[in-house]
Symmetry: C2
Subunit: 379 residues, 2 copies
Amino acid sequence: MQNDYQNKTLGILGGGQLGRMLIQAAINHNVDIHVLDPDPEAPCKHLSSRFVKGDLKDFDTVYQFGKSCDVISIEIEHVNTDALRLLETEGKKVYPQPHIIELIQDKRKQKQFYRDHGIPTSEFILTENRSDVSIHAGFLPAVNKLGREGYDGRGVQLLKKAEDLEKAFDAPGLLEKFIDFEKELAVIVARNERGELKTFAPVECAFHPEHNLVEFLFSPAEISDFLSQQAQNIAVDVIQKLGMVGLLAVELFVTKEGEVLVNEIAPRPHNSGHHTIEANFTSQFDQHLRAVLNMPLGNTAVRSPAAMVNLLGEAGYTGEALVEGLDDALAEKGVYVHLYGKKITKPFRKMGHVTILEEDIATLKKRAQKIKDSIKIKA
Amino acid sequence: MQNDYQNKTLGILGGGQLGRMLIQAAINHNVDIHVLDPDPEAPCKHLSSRFVKGDLKDFDTVYQFGKSCDVISIEIEHVNTDALRLLETEGKKVYPQPHIIELIQDKRKQKQFYRDHGIPTSEFILTENRSDVSIHAGFLPAVNKLGREGYDGRGVQLLKKAEDLEKAFDAPGLLEKFIDFEKELAVIVARNERGELKTFAPVECAFHPEHNLVEFLFSPAEISDFLSQQAQNIAVDVIQKLGMVGLLAVELFVTKEGEVLVNEIAPRPHNSGHHTIEANFTSQFDQHLRAVLNMPLGNTAVRSPAAMVNLLGEAGYTGEALVEGLDDALAEKGVYVHLYGKKITKPFRKMGHVTILEEDIATLKKRAQKIKDSIKIKA
């Protein structure tokens, strides 16, 4: 049936910046949004018709929240999937599907999935505890990851040499062969119930050397058409093999040998897609809505090259946030400041982002660096 | 002081679609929005930290609402300006300023202002009642306007010949010499407290022949650079002579002789600026916020030619709105559907709009017509 997405109630688990930007997009479609988040001051608080303060991992909380919605989606993976499974059996649409969220909650299962389905990824060894890791000195350098609860660089560490083994995570996790990659890319792909598929052009991520958070992102990635197509094909392959409905961010390594490997995936709007709000014909948030509500997917073509800079809480400042250096940025052509409505800043907390549009790539990079140097989140 | 716009509370009188799109823009700037509207189901209802149901024309309601805000603005002119004047004397920022809202509430005062300040406009005669109009048969054809309370084509009628005089408005109004214009343009201009001024490129309005509502709008207008500059200069002249802070939409006639005349003005975001959300580097809503909060004004350059189509309630349908024909539109490249969250449709009610981006102007016009023909708001 056409247009059956009208006047649906969409429940979102998580009310942070991703939910907030999703709401900005949802306003255009008359989608009624309900939000569940443990923080009574979550960024989405005043922007939904129903905001419920509650634990995303609690069965009853998630189940009760979902019962009044037609469609349930997420903006964070760490949610109670048992409740989502029950809602699904009771006829609710839950996208991404609960079993996919579970797969992605556990980096061990994720890697196993790639291996089982012939999806290119780095070599890995599953480990149960620290002593289990310690017998693999020969596998180093490797990235040691916790199976569960890692987020924004937490639960991930590099083990370079035998001495590092003593700091290995003492919990179920894995060792991934360290990839001395040439580039790190991300591709966002969407799939709706009708089976339509659309990818965004690959973007290039530049990470902060210490904090393992995306520092700059450039769109489109400066790679060959062949490599771009290869990266998009892999993203399509992953979402199809998952059978997932929704939006999937696929982080990829390009090795020095030109091989493309899947690093990690996230089944929701992603930091690597924020630029799409201004730089692509359809934004990742709009696309997420379209996918989970079974609307036609939007055209993803690039409107302009773009850079994205995360605005992180400045080291050494905790307390009520004050943004410095905004004036110059706001006056510039093609600069878009997005603040996330978080009252309290902490070192490296994601407080906002800035997208910069600029046709000339060299100028774009300079402007991105200047924006990053000039805007500071202090307290 | 730089950045003194951070964490301000902005009160908006009116919670319709203009307020709704303003909120979409305000989210990026962490501006806390309060809304006052008489309709408990107003489009802004769930999108503000404080929504007050109340009469915009009631002194106490407006005064009490404004007291808890730092800055007060409007999305409709028909508000109690005595309350706004008092709030202003008590130190609140009220933009546009109350005396300017009063001027614009009364089309007679508006015309008088143009005449007194050398702003080009059509000839006119002020009239007190029907019999007063009836003695001006020699001035016909003329547009008869009510001084107050006209909106969206209401309170405006064409008197072609002597027989029409009997339907003249029997209340204080005016007769404007009928302008058989070549084109109708609109220019949006913004001015902040710092005195910064920015105009958007003129747009061309195509009105529905019967209902006097904008049917299509094309940006930028297909006019010479000279005419474009002239139209923008007039808009700047008007806002400067008003001494206004905020956003001003200036509707202009281009006569067959190439003269540019001011038709009407609106001191707020305007239907003729909706395309700026996708088609310009800064949207009119973002610019309105920037102006009233004394932020740096944004760059207004055109990113792409655009058409805008209003989605009006289909004649013959009143009741719970159902949008037909969305699927094809949503799948198209560069088509942006904005629904306003109004549950009930009525004939010709503004239920939403669609912006179409397209480099080729001839194709753009065809696509706009196709969108208009395919999307219908029924009940």
